[in-house]
């Protein structure tokens, strides 16, 4: 029997992950990461992010008869996830904080704790499949394509793959809920979490205003321009915009207009038509590969948004950055978002989108 450390958020997925590992005969140790405190929002129903989650996880671990601990990762989380989120928006980009949190904070801390606690592996309730391959362990999309979370895990260091486990990879969400109910777990019918955990109000601009100050360029009025440089109107701060967004541009353009680009230096928000939103080339930086770095000429698939389908792409250049030619249309390719690479269902790695270009440009 080997000891496995399981990250438990207090949701149904990680509850069932822990239960399955226990059933499989492992000595399971549950941990909840305390990531964020809403200390600045008195009267908020949850005084601390995850405090409700901590209590839920504790009830589940009591039912499963496994130990449970809380690890305070607030400092790392605040630096690596929240500060990064804020500075990305300040640069006119649109970050994926959950990717950052998984790759940079949670698994890194889990791994260190797991080593200290003599655990053979660390596990989580992500919907992603782990399997042995000829060149070592590999990750594949979760069997439940609607729930697949491989997109969030591209930042996992390759070296830790032998020591991670994802017990839910072959299951559907419905099966997971069914298991939770049959085990009598108190989290069986808990709703999905939707918001970014450190933006409880759902409006990230409040957080940006607090962190950057109301006089930051991101909150100053600027011009709405088209690709040719024509001024089409004004906006009241680029912090409110993301590439692909249609809302908030005002009307009267004759045809639907979308945000194409944010230029923080000039505070310009570039808008254009649906056709102009389509990208043909993407440059990706801050890469992490779970395979050997591919050569130019390699074909792969790339997913450019969490809920988007992946599209075929050709690697034009690979090094510190990767330049891809997209072989099918992809709209609203947004700097700061994750570009995640696949070979069929297999997760190859990913990076952050630096720039997208349409063939027209």
């Amino acid at each position: 029997m080997s000891r496995v450390l399981v990250a438990m958020s207090g949701g149904v997925d990680s509850s069932v992950a822990a239960a399955l590992l226990k059933e499989a005969g492992h000595e399971v140790v549950g941990v909840t990461m305390k990531t964020f405190c809403y200390s600045g929002t008195p009267g908020h129903a949850k005084t601390c992010c995850g405090l409700d989650g901590i209590a839920d996880a504790r009830r589940v671990t009591m039912a499963l008869d496994i130990p449970h601990y809380v690890f305070d990762v607030e400092e790392d989380f605040s630096r690596d996830v929240v500060d990064d989120f804020v500075s990305e928006y300040a640069r006119g980009r649109t970050p994926n904080p959950c990717v950052r949190c998984n790759g940079n904070t949670k698994f890194r801390d889990l791994l260190a704790r797991g080593r200290a606690l003599e655990c053979e592996a660390i596990a989580s309730g992500h919907y992603v499949r782990w399997e042995e391959g000829p060149g070592g362990p590999r990750l594949r999309r979760g069997a439940d394509r609607a729930k697949d979370q491989s997109y969030f895990l591209w930042e996992l260091p390759r070296a830790i793959l032998p020591r991670v486990r994802f017990p839910l990879g072959d299951l559907t969400k419905a099966q997971v809920r069914e298991r939770a109910r049959s085990l009598g777990l108190s989290t069986a019918d808990k709703p999905e979490s939707q918001e970014i955990c450190f933006v409880p109000t759902g409006d990230y601009r409040d957080l940006l205003r607090r962190k950057l100050g109301p006089f930051h360029a991101a909150f100053q009025p600027g011009r709405l321009v088209d690709r040719r440089g024509n001024v089409l109107g004004e906006h009241d701060g680029f912090a409110g915009f993301t590439v692909g967004q249609r809302k908030g541009l005002g009307g009267g353009f004759g045809e639907p207009m979308f945000v194409l680009e944010i230029r923080p230096d000039t505070r310009e928000v570039v808008v254009g038509t649906r056709e102009e939103l389509v990208a043909h080339h993407v440059e990706v930086g801050e890469l992490n590969w779970l395979i050997e770095v591919p050569e130019a000429g390699t074909h792969l698939r790339v997913q450019l948004r969490y809920r988007a389908a992946d599209v075929p792409a050709l690697v034009l250049e690979a090094g510190d950055r990767v330049t891809l030619e997209l072989l099918e249309d992809a709209a609203a390719v947004t700097p700061g978002q994750s570009a995640v690479f696949y070979d069929g269902e297999r997760l190859l790695g990913g990076g952050r989108i630096v720039r997208a270009e349409s063939a027209a440009a």
Partner: protein, 386 residues
């Protein structure tokens, strides 16, 4: 291995005699002490008996013992209640607390002086348990002053100079409160010997029930209540009394005080054995407050270059129940303000507090030392190799 509980400073199991004493008041003797009829009279008699028992154990008068619902409430009533009374009399009070007080005292003092309601003075304590008397005198020079100094520190076990400070306060006309939660039953605590005006004790550190506590308030020391309602506890703590709790607290307190001398000697010997075993196995270990006079039941040791949370979790997985600084309410570990006050905020040590109690045996402390040493050795090897 069978788990070992060495966290008696966090809380203690209910003692069998206490359980027996409480039993009737969870059953047929359920009356409200304020009622005139026989049920009420029975409950009132039990409450009076409990109050008399507590008074005797502490050297107080019957009417000076006020039952409240725990140590935190008692600390708040003492400090906020006294400050509020001084304000009601037209004064701006100075509230002076040491840097190593329990959060209940720090919180009460800060609340009592918030938004101009008073002046807050923090008095440093040195590693040897001595107090910065100049800072204390500065606070006493701005009357009226309320001073709160714990009798025994909950994290390191050091005994603070309560007698000396109480006398100084008495001479200066200041009000003196002491949180004696960790002191009762471990060191001599008598309000007829030491001139304290207000004293806090709780049941659950003495093998009594949780949610029970008392505030000794010396005759002639006037407080404003924090809660308003009926006239219970001489108007200081309205609300129908918890008779079972009071009876349990009284039984636990009486036994703890009666057995104090023998039990303190036994625990002191076990603690010395524990620290000796640890020191022999773990090079570079520091005994916190090691140069201060200490209560016999707490051994707090710090180890260089380790992560505190991982250490505590690893010990728990080995069956050893101890704590870091003080137990935090979410279970996540956070820095200890006490150790920061004594050793600096960037002290790079991980701390383990062992606290001994009635069930602790010599076998327990030897095993605890062995387990701790082997876990520490493993983690240090990892840290070194990482």
């Amino acid at each position: 291995m069978d788990p070992i509980y060495l966290d008696h400073a966090a809380t203690t199991p209910l003692r069998a005699e206490v359980r027996v004493a409480i039993e009737p008041y969870l059953g047929d003797t359920f009356g409200n002490p304020s009622s005139l009829h026989r049920w009420g009279r029975e409950a009132a008699a039990a409450l009076a008996e409990a109050r008399a028992t507590c008074a005797t154990a502490l050297g107080a008068h019957f009417s000076e013992i006020h039952f409240v619902r725990g140590g935190t409430e008692s600390d708040n009533l003492a400090i906020q209640g006294r400050a509020a009374r001084l304000r009601a009399d037209g004064h701006i009070p100075t509230v002076a607390v040491s840097t190593v007080e329990h959060a209940a005292v720090l919180g009460a003092a800060s609340q009592a002086t918030a938004r101009g309601a008073g002046r807050l003075e923090t008095v440093p304590v040195a590693e040897d348990g001595s107090l910065d008397l100049d800072r204390l005198d500065r606070a006493l020079a701005e009357p009226p002053t309320v001073v709160s100094l714990m009798w025994v520190n909950n994290e390191t076990g050091m005994i603070l100079p309560v007698e000396e400070v109480a006398a100084r306060c008495r001479a200066a006309g200041a009000t003196f409160h002491t949180d004696a939660v960790q002191a009762v039953g471990k060191v001599p605590v008598r309000v007829d010997v030491v001139p304290v005006d207000l004293l806090t004790a709780t049941g659950h550190k003495l093998q009594g029930p949780k949610g029970t506590g008392l505030l000794f308030c010396r005759e002639g020391t006037y407080l404003s209540p924090l809660l308003h309602g009926g006239g219970q506890e001489r108007l200081l703590r309205p609300g129908t009394e918890d008779v079972a709790g009071a009876v349990g607290l009284a039984a636990a307190l009486r036994l703890a005080v009666a057995e104090r001398e023998a039990e303190a000697a036994r625990l002191g010997a076990l603690r010395a054995q524990l620290e000796g075993e640890l020191a022999a196995r773990i090079p570079g270990m520091r005994v916190n407050s090691g140069r201060a006079p200490r209560a016999p039941h707490i051994a707090s040791v710090s180890l260089p270059g380790l992560d505190g949370t991982s250490l505590l979790v690893a010990l728990d997985l080995e069956g050893l129940a101890v704590s870091g600084g003080a137990a935090c309410h979410t279970g996540a570990s956070s820095g200890s303000h006490v150790l920061a006050a004594l050793y600096g905020a960037d002290d790079p040590h991980a701390t383990v507090r062992f606290s001994l109690g009635a069930s602790t045996t010599a076998g327990d402390v030897v095993r605890a030392a062995r387990v701790t040493a082997s876990v520490v050795e493993r983690l240090q090897a990892q840290e070194g190799g990482a």
